[in-house]
């Protein structure tokens, strides 16, 4: 696993090998698998992501009853062409909700990088495939790009809310999705890193404060924000707008912020939204008998 995006960018130039391929070869080397095996496993992951959207069931409620049915509400509004943000962002929102609600309702999802943030990457990637007609192979390449970014974040900081707050989950997912989106539009390593940096910068310091300790509130709606943030970061990048702080340094900043965060906003459900009056009331009302 690479521990710096700069390193990938450097090798991309030196070896004349694209970003995604470097990530793939590196993983094959470390896990002692063949390129073919790796590719078919990534395809299995992408298929599972698509299935997690298709298999959405709007009648389901989570175990606590807090979550369910919202993806369908956006779909209805989309059908009436009422979305203020337009149809494309509308479908991104819809998918982010559907996948993360499915997660809360014990359906099959792909943790990317975590179960709590599972809606971001599929919402961005699948919506772009629908819009542009990219092949599944191309989408798998984009997933390698996403994984490469996530791997660097994991080694420079963390991809766990318990360690670094929600910036490490929704933040990392958004950064991964932004880079992958830029790749689909022809971006090279520098563009990918730029989008990854822009996306994460917006989410630095985000608390992990799940109400009653469950991956439901605010997690589901934060997936929407993470996905839309990835799209805007990709568009900024493709317009030639540069992040003044390079991606690797953004990840390092996230690490420092994460270390300084109080334990009460690191998945312990003792601070932030979890500790609000309503958050506490919800917690009491769903106590295990």
């Amino acid at each position: 696993m690479y521990d710096s995006l700069n390193q990938i960018i450097k090798e991309e130039k030196e070896k004349k090998t694209p970003f995604w391929k470097l990530v793939q070869l590196d993983d094959c080397h470390e896990s002692e698998t063949t390129v073919k095996e790796s590719m078919s496993e990534v395809m299995r992951v992408y298929t599972a992501m698509k299935d997690s959207v298709i298999n959405y069931d709007s009648s389901l409620k989570s175990q606590s009853g807090l979550v369910g049915g919202n993806g369908e509400k956006i779909r209805r509004r989309l059908n009436k062409r009422q979305m203020i943000c337009g149809d494309f962002i509308g479908t991104v929102i819809e998918k982010a909700l559907k996948v993360s609600e499915s997660n809360a309702c014990m359906k099959r999802i792909v943790a990317a990088p975590t179960a709590g943030s599972c809606g971001v990457v599929p919402a961005v990637l699948i919506s772009l495939q629908e819009k542009e007609g990219f092949s599944d192979e191309k989408m798998c390449e984009a997933l390698y790009v996403a994984a490469g970014i996530g791997g660097v974040i994991a080694s420079k900081a963390s991809i766990s809310g318990a360690q670094h707050g929600c910036q490490a989950e929704i933040g990392a997912a958004s950064s991964m999705a932004a880079g992958a989106a830029v790749y689909l539009y022809g971006g090279d390593g520098s563009d990918i890193a730029n989008a990854a940096a822009l996306a994460l910068k917006n989410l630095l310091g985000l608390a992990c404060d799940p109400v009653a300790g469950l991956v439901e509130v605010p997690c589901v709606k934060r997936n929407v924000m993470g996905a839309v943030n990835a799209i805007t970061s990709a568009d900024l990048t493709l317009a030639g707008i540069k992040s003044k702080i390079p991606a690797d340094e953004v990840f390092e900043a996230m690490n420092k912020i994460g270390r300084n965060m109080n334990a009460d906003i690191k998945e312990t459900a003792e601070g932030g939204l979890a500790a609000t009056k309503t958050g506490n009331r919800i917690k009491e009302s769903i106590k295990i008998k």
Partner: protein, 222 residues
């Protein structure tokens, strides 16, 4: 960590630690038992106890004990599946153990009457640790082929066991020694890079002083 820890695992939600991790712990416990579970006493501790219900940890553990994988659609219905397969279980609060915030203790009885007591801890991202087996402290992830050997605690047993593995070209990745009390029962946990041939396990079982050999194979798993 590899690539499929970043874009993966494919799993039933909602939580990698409280759902997928719990399925894995149940699964490993069943494989340590070596047969179908007939009866299980399950004790939740720490945040498994406080937030487990909302994360489906109870259904996840039972699913694991039934042998379901982390991405099996049957996980939410595991209680019903257990009833159909006549696996009895109880779930209660256990006593907290320091250093193990997401833990579960299981007392299992298999279909042939074999008994085992296992404690597992979910350490994040769906990764787990088996931290106790039959009252002896252990620490293994169950992500590599693992041998657990119980033997009489006497000098020289390590020197007797390792050559048997070496002869079969099995590479030892890690090795831990634990014991209940000096001079009673010792437990050796060996994590290997390759699968261990049956012949090797038979040879280990025949060794003088070896009381029990449990082999956790990765065959048939991803």
């Amino acid at each position: 960590m590899n690539l499929f820890d970043i874009i993966g695992p494919i799993m039933i939600g909602p939580s990698s630690s409280h759902t997928a991790g719990a399925v894995k712990i149940g699964n490993v416990a069943r494989r340590l038992l070596g047969e179908d579970v007939k009866k299980a006493e399950i004790y939740f501790m720490g945040s498994f106890l406080s937030t487990g219900k909302g994360h489906g940890t109870d259904r996840a553990i039972v699913a694991g004990l039934l042998g379901l994988a982390v991405d099996d659609d049957g996980i939410p219905n595991s209680f019903e599946i257990a009833e159909k397969r006549k696996m009895k279980f109880t779930i209660k609060a256990g006593e907290d153990v320091e250093g193990h915030p997401n833990a579960v203790r299981m007392k299992l009885i298999g279909v042939s009457g074999r008994k085992i007591e296992v404690m597992g801890n979910s350490v994040g991202g769906g990764r787990i640790e088996i931290c106790e087996m039959d009252g002896v402290e252990t620490s293994f992830s169950a992500e590599a082929p693992t041998l657990i050997i119980q033997n009489e605690d006497k000098p020289g047993y390590v020197a007797e066991i390792t050559p048997i593995l070496v002869k079969e070209h099995v590479n030892i990745a890690t090795m831990q020694l634990h014991r209940r009390k000096r001079g009673t029962i010792a437990v050796m946990v060996i994590e290997c890079d390759q699968e261990i041939p049956d012949s090797c396990i038979k040879a280990l079982k025949k060794l003088d002083g070896v009381l029990e050999v449990v082999y956790l194979s990765m065959r048939g798993l991803e």
